[in-house]
Symmetry: C3
Subunit: 344 residues, 3 copies
């Protein structure tokens, strides 16, 4: 019998059940798209109408939403987290096909756990150690002396440079480049001299790294990505950076070299962080924010400006460029008014 | 005899010809760089001087420009489009070398059309179907159950994840990652739980996707790229987004998850679009524009600010940060002046 | 005996030595992290305390810093450049393992120098010429008619399209895509026609290109990267651009098509440059700067705005959007005040 029953889910995840414990769930779906074998979840009050109309087999929700739900319900204070765990059971990752594909090129002295998978066209360098149940996906290139913890998956075409270490249960999406030499140059006259980047990159457990993101190795000391950090696609993290545990970094963020981001921070899309800064724990940065000095206080920070009609915006920019003159004119008016009053 | 005659071009593309129908064209060139076997085009009035001086065999132009052209001319209301079509004939894509390279790794149950090419070091997963005259270039990795329409080309090192479908005549540049799992996490205490992304990615006909761009699969429902959409390099499109037909997206754009972009939009370079938004058809966004709420009216929108000398800009930013105080001071002056007038 | 003596370094690089010429250096380190066999350097006055406390074998520094250094010292007007050169000796690049890996696919008529290395899973196209002591790293894909100068290294998974030429001593980091067709389309009704990009890309000597960066080939004429240009990760350079010698481009920069950047420019992270512009030599652009018109004067330019607390920033943005009204109100107050004075 396929799927899992509501009763099993309630027991396994400690959820309260209102409804039929024998009802079977085969997949997850949205409230609007769910059919009679699908589980949906409800947290966003804007979707109350969808909740009332849903055809789902059951809905994960908080107790206070129960009245609006006419189908079976699994009740929990954190429906999204329960949804994540149940979806992982219903839609598991591809099983690990232990062994090395005939087309993979693996150094004779690499230590690959017998339960790990080295897929087609992958390359694994000398003395590299790959843990239990790891997946080195098709087209991945691992340098020498790389260390990869258990249950980590490099999905496809990931590059890991020499001496990088990656923790356990890490998920790396295709095209990411981990531990390349960063942008380190010394000026000599008009020219730039390459400075060898002798540090490495250490990635903690339970990290996720998005497609085509790049994280440079340290110039002298190491770049360090803390445990549980989540990094989206097309993110650049420069040499010597440290990222605190459980920080989440959205797409297209750039972090220049030698900056230190605290734990549990949330960086919105396109954020830019200059080099040699410290950002404390629990800082939020909204999309397109630019940080050029330290942030010492938790809280949410912004500097992005939302769009206007282009013709209106041109006027705003023109005025902004002359704001210094405007401020001086206001000061002058203030003085004149005061003079006028005094002479009156 | 190499090339094509002006007469043939006139007939084939419905162009009016002024000049010698036997003159042969072998290549395309700029007005300034064209020699006696090259075809150039003229649309930009700033290049009128180059038009008058050109040594081209012939020029594609609008009728009103004819007087400024002393060489042969092909006349059309849309010279750039005619140029594109003729350049495609003179500089065709590499022919498709049907068959699978010995080094490619293709699943036994993949269905590859006999006229398609699977290049060196490519990987094709189980049950994947590849249409007629397709090219799966060197180093490409295609997952399981992928579907690719006729005449589509994945040029090199493109990754296509499981179950993604791609239409006909699609062109994907090297390094693109299509259908990776997006940035989907559920917060649980300080940590983030990975939410399996069970939707997929559907790409329409005649789409073009730039180098190292990334388009995520849907979280539950699908990410959808409409027909004729053109996407430049290093663009990020988040999970669940839909992009309307013939929309053009320039380089370094980031679109967060679950946003819906209309048809025939034009997004300039570096534009950022927050998640869960709707942007209607026929919207233009100039470079660096940031969108954080719905756009319901066609038109052009902006929020980018062009550079100033750094020392002047620092003053502007200082004043901007104090604009609230400035506005309050102006209000105060207004009240005082009114009081002054009333007491006068 | 491992490492190199201070005396050898002093002679080889023309440095003044204060201390023991027999002392041996085995590695480089930071002032704070250096042990008794490590060389550090000092240029940043903020690190004066670290200099005074360092346990390094020796420190590279300027003469005026000598008093603060209690260990051996190598004295030079440019400590960072000397550090770069010495680090290159102590931490050399991996030696070139001449020859072609059995898994590489190299066209029969490619001309690969006998001293060059073609690594595992690489692909080299027809008539491509690869110079002495080059490295074509694992998973690289080179098209047809590519030319690569001596001592150039494509580290891993680099794509080089047909006819691109790369100079000598160039270093390309993993995932870069060099010479893809740019974003060239002609509008025809609602749709976009692909315009074949018939130019190519020429990269000068001593260039460095970061991970996952993309540089497009020219539409008709060539894209040109001048000698000594340094390009960081995730940078996009559009078709037909030219970049002057020794210009440095930080991460996440986007340069639209047909723009021309001068020599010795420095572009900060996330900078955006619109198309068809000219930027003269010796221009600095700070992070997030947006350029939409020519820059004719050397100097530093900016338009980025640093973050504020989100609630304060919302107020600033609100006021900014109404700045036109504010300016008009100030003008009105000025007129009223003048009227008041005149009637007084």
């Amino acid at each position: 019998m396929s799927g899992v029953s509501l009763g099993e889910l309630a027991v396994r995840f400690g959820l309260a059940l209102r409804g039929d414990p024998e009802r079977r769930i085969e997949r997850v779906a949205t409230l609007a798209g769910a059919g009679s074998t699908a589980l949906a979840f409800f947290v966003n009050p804007k979707l109350a109408r969808e909740l009332r109309a849903t055809q789902a087999a059951a809905v994960l929700l908080r107790e206070e939403a129960l009245a609006d739900c006419s189908v079976d319900a699994l009740i929990t204070p954190n429906p999204h987290a329960a949804f994540a765990r149940i979806a992982t059971i219903l839609h598991p990752m591809a099983p690990v096909a232990a062994g090395m594909h005939a087309s993979a090129v693996v150094a004779a002295d690499a230590e690959v756990d017998a339960t790990a998978q080295i897929a087609a066209q992958a390359v694994v360098g000398a003395r590299t150690r790959i843990g239990a149940r790891c997946v080195v996906g098709p087209g991945c290139v691992l340098g020498d002396d790389v260390v990869i913890g258990d249950d980590t998956r490099l999905l496809a075409r990931v590059t890991v440079l020499d001496r990088v270490s990656i923790g356990a249960r890490v998920l790396v999406h295709p095209g990411a480049v981990l531990g390349a030499e960063g942008f380190g140059f010394a000026r000599e006259g008009a020219a730039w001299l390459h400075v060898p980047q002798v540090g490495t990159l250490r990635i903690g457990d339970d990290v996720e790294i998005g497609a085509n993101s790049t994280i440079d190795r340290g110039a002298i000391e190491d770049t360090v990505i803390g445990e549980g950090v989540k990094i989206d696609n097309l993110v650049q993290i420069g040499h010597n950076c440290t990222i605190g545990a459980h920080t989440a970094i959205a797409g297209c963020v750039g972090i220049a070299g030698s900056s230190h981001i605290g734990a549990r921070c949330q960086l919105g899309g396109g954020v830019g962080i200059a080099g040699h800064l410290r950002i404390c724990d629990d800082v939020g940065l909204t999309g397109f924010a630019l940080v050029v000095s330290d942030i010492d206080e938790p809280g949410v920070y912004s500097s992005g400006i939302p769009v206007e009609r282009a013709q209106d915006w041109r006027k705003v920019v023109g005025r902004l460029k002359r704001i210094d003159g405007l401020a001086k004119r206001v000061a002058e008016l203030g003085r004149q008014q005061q003079d006028g009053e005094e002479t009156a």
